[in-house]
Amino acid sequence: MAEPLLRVTDLRKSYGESWAVDGVTFAVDRGETLAIVGESGCGKSTLARCVARLAQPTSGSVRLDGLELATLSRRRLRPLRPRFQLVFQDPSTSLNPRWTVEEIVREPLRLQGVRGDVPGLLSEVGLDPGLAGRHPHQLSGGQRQRVGIARALALSPDLLVLDEPVTALDVSVQAQIINLLLRLQEERGLGYLFISHDLAVVSAVAHRIAVMHAGRLVETGPAEQVLGRPSHDYTRALVAAVPGA
């Protein structure tokens, strides 16, 4: 069997006495979306940060194309960073308020010392390149999240870790961003690790779903199976709690 894009094995992360992530194993293929769903405090954001190596896992393995990331130092990670990038929940705190759109999207390019086409990136995420000189506070929530996505794409990653990327957005904007993510995945063959608490949102983007509860994955499977015929009690409770479903 070919090596998946991302393989996470028995990942653990502790804060003091408690385990935020307690032995999590999964894989994500190229062009595939694996959604991790769970409620706040279940450890899904910590998991995202461990995978994106913004936090150091306590133990376990994070392999990107077979290459171990979990144990690498900040310095060793740097040249590998372009291959996996993060999109954040709240576009109002994930963009430096003092910078222009141009500066924000160019930052990863500058850090990695590579050339890139900022206007092209802005167009790709559906932003008018004429907005390059604006500051984040001059943009709408949806436009800001597009800037965050353009920044994540700047280094042409293979994997995007998306931490609640549409949670802070309005319904109509949510749909636009979901569609943008679907299109980008198709065009670029991206693998998505999509972290969310919202089962309805997840159903629109995920090929597979993993349900996280108290630091562990309680159920993993194809989206329609997990949502349609949940096998774990906790998953059933989650699905039943979705209003209007």
Binding site: S172, V173, A175, L182
Partner: protein
């Protein structure tokens, strides 16, 4: 019963609420839905006399059982006849006061004696599903959902005629959301208060509201029963909004989107504010603001 007529709220020369009219009968829950900047929260803050900073009412009326809610009289009316539940329970509670005492304080301000207030506070706690032993804890010792229950208990303490819940579950987890909505609905039924549930979450509103009002760019574009508006929306904006929300069971794939984004009130286009994004816009839509007639503010629907 709450009657709002042609309400206009202006901030910095811009009409952020532009001629909104609606009614809420006793015991009824009105779901007020709209996206950020649609004016749904501002409308309710205006009704409650809680408009922030530069915003003020520059037109129209709001009456609660015939009593005009003018700003001068509100001070007295507010606490007693209008109850609030805001989005973030953490900021609605005094962190330095035991929760039981906070509820009792509301009652005492309005004339109840010490023992009576304490007894009633315990009753209220029970009503929102919190045991009397929790009366002596501080807000930070409670989870978000528990805190929101306390806020609900305070909101209904004086048996208000009007209950306003602004995004009451947005800050909470899904499974907790459901419980809080149950508590809120029970509290609302028990008090018989006319209730306005402000939310961006159509799913939530669909389960809790009898009637729904949809706002867009400071105006009301559609009202009707929950079944009508959510099941067969007539305004092109409501219809597009319903279609664009992801639903479990719809499967993976692109969602039907509304192109563009809602205009800020200061750059609201002439005529119907939705016309530049509307698939069925007529020439007239760009010139005249459609009135809310028969529950929908749309020339294409009214003329067609």
């Amino acid at each position: 019963m709450l009657e709002v007529k042609d309400l206009v709220v202006t901030a910095g020369g811009v009409r952020i609420v532009d001629g909104v009219s609606f009614e809420v009968r006793p015991g009824e829950v009105l779901g007020m839905v709209g996206e950020s900047g649609s004016g749904k929260t501002m409308t309710m803050l205006a009704v409650a006399g809680l408009l922030p900073g530069p915003a003020r009412i520059t037109g129209g009326t709001a009456a609660l059982y015939g009593t005009e809610l003018t700003e001068a009289r509100l001070e007295r009316i507010r606490g007693r006849r209008i109850g609030f539940v805001f989005q973030d329970p953490a900021t609605s509670l005094n962190p330095l006061m035991r929760v039981g005492a906070q509820i009792a304080e509301v009652l005492r301000i309005h004339g109840l004696g010490r023992t009576a207030a304490r007894r009633r506070a315990v009753e209220l706690l029970e009503q929102v599903g919190i045991g009397p032993e929790r009366a002596r804890v501080y807000p930070h010792e409670l989870s978000g959902g528990m805190r929101q229950r306390i806020v609900i208990a305070m909101a209904i303490a004086l048996r208000p005629a009007l209950l306003i819940a602004d995004e009451p579950t947005t800050a909470l987890d899904v499974t907790v959301q459901e419980q809080i909505m149950r508590v809120l609905r029970a509290a609302q039924r028990e008090t018989g208060a006319a209730t306005v549930l402000v939310s961006h979450d159509l799913g939530l509103v669909s389960e809790a509201a009898h009637r729904i009002a949809v706002m867009y760019s400071g105006r009301l574009v559609e009202t009707g029963t929950a079944d009508e508006v959510l099941g067969a929306p007539r305004h092109p904006y409501s219809a597009a909004l319903m279609r664009s929300r992801p639903r479990i069971g719809a499967g993976r794939g692109p969602l039907p989107v509304i192109p563009g984004h809602p205009p800020a009130p200061k750059s609201r286009p002439p005529g119907c504010a939705f016309h530049p994004r509307c698939p069925v816009a007529l020439a007239r839509c760009a010139q005249e603001v459609p009135p809310l007639a028969g529950g929908v503010a749309c020339w294409a629907v009214q003329d067609g």
